[in-house]
Amino acid sequence: MTATIARPEEPRSQGGTVEVTVIDTDVHVEPRSFEQIVSYMSPPWRDRAISDRVPFRRPTFATLEGGGRGDSIPDDGSFLGSDPEMAGRQLFVDDPMDYAILLPWSFRGFTVDPLLDTALSAAANDWAADTWLSKYNTENRYIGSITVSVEDPVGAAREIERWAGDPRFKQVAITHYGPRPFGHPMYAPIWEAAARHNLPVAIHFRGGATQPLGWTPTGTLQYFVEYHSLIAPLAYAAHMVSFICNGVFDRHPNLKVLFIEGGFLWHQPVLDRLERHWKRTSHELAAKKTPREYIRDHFRFATQPIEESITHPDRIATLFEQANAAKLLMFSSDWPHYDFDPPSKALPRSLEPEIRKRILCENAREIYNLPKTRPADRFDLEAGRK
């Protein structure tokens, strides 16, 4: 299945250690082909003409130049993000990071059948465990996500249990869209399973037959720029408020929810409005803390696509600091997609060095419980980090 990719048999020890300074919380890797994922499915799913029912490529919003980083598309025509050598070079050598949190991109919520979604999620997890989290992970730089289907909460909880305790997987990954916002009791099994095993839950927006990319509270969109500006923040705002108001964190004080690729600064005005209404009209809730405290204790945001100011680049750092970026924000690159943000250039230049350090590394290190140093490897040697 994966024999075409040559990798060193044993990690070549370079000796010494490297300080962990950059953790990338949003890296998308893929199989070489859709058939590779199907090969990890068991009957009856594998034998039910899966490829016909689950189109790997489906009509969706697209940019003029395609969704891939122009210099990350494999020469052999295989899927973007499917070449481990290219990934290793671009992530750990060119503008080096220490760890990459993997969010496999292709297999969440494609179908109208929740059980098939769970079967596909399981196959994606088995595939990841077998490839990017073992064969391709000789240097131990990749960290896995347990992909689950939000539309099948019981199946999702079972899938979390199947991997919980496996050190290769350090979070649960879900999509932005569900039949109801995520505070609804129907999702309780997912949050219970994640909290039981201390696994953060990362939400990344995604489309599929039952997870329309372009729905807003008032109808569908036409253009990519509308979709990429609105969809994730709109959905994340709804989930953020729903999680808080439905007491999910009162039931699970250790649960962390991570909003990936949906922006950061928007949450400030949403929170301000919630806080004001909270004082007057939150009596029907059993919540024990204020919205600001729930956000501080339970939510984190990934940077990419980072908020920028073309006209006043010097002022944006102040906005980050006011929005508690020092605690809430974690670096992400979105490799290998077109809007990849490199760690050395992404953050506002005028950020305080201590806050920069927290965003690039410390916040994610605490969420994923990663070490402060790691063994040096061949990528460090190439990157001149040793």
């Binding site: 940019t63 003029l64 130049e65 122009g70 210099d71 073309i310 809007d339 990849f340 490199p342 250039k345």
Partner: protein, 143 residues
């Protein structure tokens, strides 16, 4: 002190074509573009986040327009005059190195000349010349 760098023969780069060269002085590379018969050179480093700008696609862009019936439409304009960075898709005007949206960001550009073979010979000897012929001419970059 500017260094002259020979990109290659004009005949190899017809209008619409481009190449990236990697002179010692500019290790990240310089893109050389033939736009409508004129040559332009831009640094292969995007001023936004440092992406390899010149590996992007040369194309046009869309622009809003009023149609005959006064309804809003879009049209494709400036085909072959714009390069889009392969990271984030910021669009730059190849002739000037400026973003096509309003900003102070600009990619570094370099002077390009086309020199006849006899000029090349004299340049090598340090003699000042004027170009006389474009037969077998070479594209020269000043960096």
């Amino acid at each position: 002190m500017a260094t002259r760098y020979v990109v290659g023969p004009v005949s190899s780069y017809p209008p619409g074509s481009s190449t990236i060269v990697y002179p010692d002085k500019v290790k990240s590379g310089i893109g050389v573009f033939n736009v409508g018969g004129e040559f332009y050179a831009l640094k292969n480093t995007c001023p936004h986040m440092g992406g390899p700008l010149c590996k992007g696609r040369v194309r046009g862009t869309t622009e809003a327009c009023a149609k005959d019936d006064e309804r809003l439409g879009i049209q494709w304009v400036r085909d072959g005059e714009i390069i889009a960075c392969p990271w984030h898709h910021w669009e730059f005007e190849i002739r000037t190195g400026r973003t096509i949206f309003s900003s102070r960001q600009r990619v570094r550009s370099y002077p390009v000349t086309v020199e006849a073979p006899e000029t090349m010979e004299r340049l090598k000897k340090g003699v000042e010349t004027v170009p006389v012929s474009v037969e077998d001419a070479q594209i020269i970059l000043e960096i």
